[in-house]
């Protein structure tokens, strides 16, 4: 995960705690999405960024998992095309395994 994003997520978690905060991912690939989920859950596995050794314990969801939570029109406009492009099942499986 981008080092800048790690810093931003860490700042938000420090401010709001991990109870009421989730991370929504939009990654296009299972492995990269799982890596991002792992980073915000148990820390940066590459030990490169601000979350190295910092287990925030945040829950991460891929946007595909939150379809029912999103306005249907907005989802259709912004995400539905990608349902046909990406390997949804593998991505969801990889991300949900880390919660």
């Amino acid at each position: 995960m981008d080092l800048e994003n790690q810093a931003r997520i860490k700042d938000l978690a420090d401010e709001f705690g991990n109870e009421e905060l989730i991370v929504v991912l939009g990654g296009g690939e299972a492995e990269a999405s799982a890596l991002a989920a792992e980073t915000v859950t148990s820390g940066d596995p590459t030990y490169a960024g601000p979350l190295a050794g910092v287990p925030l314990g945040l829950k991460a969801y891929h946007i595909f998992e939150l379809k029912d939570e999103v306005d249907a029109e907005v989802y259709d406009e912004q995400i539905s095309m990608m349902e046909m492009v990406l390997d949804m099942d593998t991505i969801i499986e990889a991300v949900s395994a880390l919660r």
Binding site: G28, E29, E31, A32, L35, T46, A48, E77, Q78, I79, S80, M81, M82, M84, V85, L86
Partner: protein, 513 residues
Amino acid sequence: MNFPVIKGAAYNLFHAPEMLIHQGTTQTSEMRTNPGSDHLKKLASALRGFDDVVQYPANQVYIGNMTPAELEATPTPWYANPIPAASRVGRFGGIYSEDELIGLMKVVDIFDLVMLEDTFQKSVAHKLLSNEKFSNIKNIAKIDNPGISKEDIDALLGKQAEALRFQGQIVGCVKRAHEFDPALTAHVMFENLVSKASSVATVMELLANLSMDPHDVEYIIECSEEACGDMNQRGGGNIAKSIGEACGLLNATGSDTRSFCAAPAHASVEAAALVQAGVYRNVLVVAGGSTAKLGMNSKSHLEKNVPVLEDVLGTFAFIISENDGVHPIIRTDVVGRHTIGSGSSPQAVMTAIVTDPLDRAGISLKDIDKFSPEMQNPEITKPAGAGDVPEANFKMIAALGVKRGDFDRSEIAEVVKQKGLPGFAPTQGHIPSGVPFLGFACDMLMAGEINRVMIIGKGSLFLGRLTNLFDGVSYLIEKNPGIVKQETIVDKDEIRKMVAEAMRNFAISLGSE
């Protein structure tokens, strides 16, 4: 309407394994934060030799010796299926070794910043002077002058010069261009001289391939991702003109266009507009290689036992000219643009740059024979978790087509196969962005194999930390239908005469009443 044409394109690769280790930012960042890391220890022994780079199928496609279709038919992984008889000389360009690149840096440096050790300079002088395509580079003969001693190079390295290396040895250095200006450090000058030198070689290649008189080029648009300037105008430019000077383009002026990876598409549209408006007859679009991006994903490659494939600098150059009735035309009336208000979801981006311009022109997605988006080599990006970038783009285009009713959902795989291409370009940011296919597109359109190609460039502007906006530009190339005869235009004098005559007749008619 007479649309401008693409006269031809040239593509060169420069093998740069030492620059990968010492200038690639993945490595320089590692040296700064973790100098004793396993990655750095393993890297040197994992780099490919020059022959491996030449025989690598994707590189053979980049320089025009193999077609994308032939690459598609090559078993994967491509790095495990080299082409033993491959040549470093290609139809669109060539593959050059790191010593040749360093020699070219010396040739194009007019501020005496590049200093080479004498024995090295002599050995590279022979190589450069025996290449006919380089014979007209300004100051090429100075490579034949004596170099300096190793001791003198050591002394310069002690004054913040940046070392130039070949096959593990220090063979020279790039001096800083100012005592303390951060925009003119040895490192910045190193990057800019590599960009300039690799561009100059590719422009010479293009002029030779097209048998074009250098004096016929009237404008140059340079579209790399480097910044040339000093502390008062960092990024002030003008790399374009510096390239043109070295290539003897005496009748040209030029400027630099920037938009991250989307810049080559912007530059193409700008060049086409300038030609169609009659401002310039021949516009050169060019970009050199980026040392920073060498070995960008090398950590992932080493972890997955993939060769460190990002070991080449990529370059391109192409000429856009007035309609000659022969070469493929750029449909300047079918230009896609991601506007500030477009939105940044993939769906919004693809709609803005792919389907909106086609809709405006009444052309269906079905009518496009090939799309050329970001042509990154998937063998580089997949191990790094970025997937197959061109394939993802083709899938997005097909999926957009499904949403619009152009295709059935069951046709997605077939659409991707028919209208797509395998990625074959090095991941050098601006280099893979749509234009690597121009050479093949021109061939296929002129041979009548295809009729329409859409070139797509996209850029991630958030990297500059000034905006979160995305960027994207596309344009359509078509088979040339022939020159359209322009209607006679009545000039001002003629209009004046007509008005005067009408008034005279009116006066006569009044007088006779």
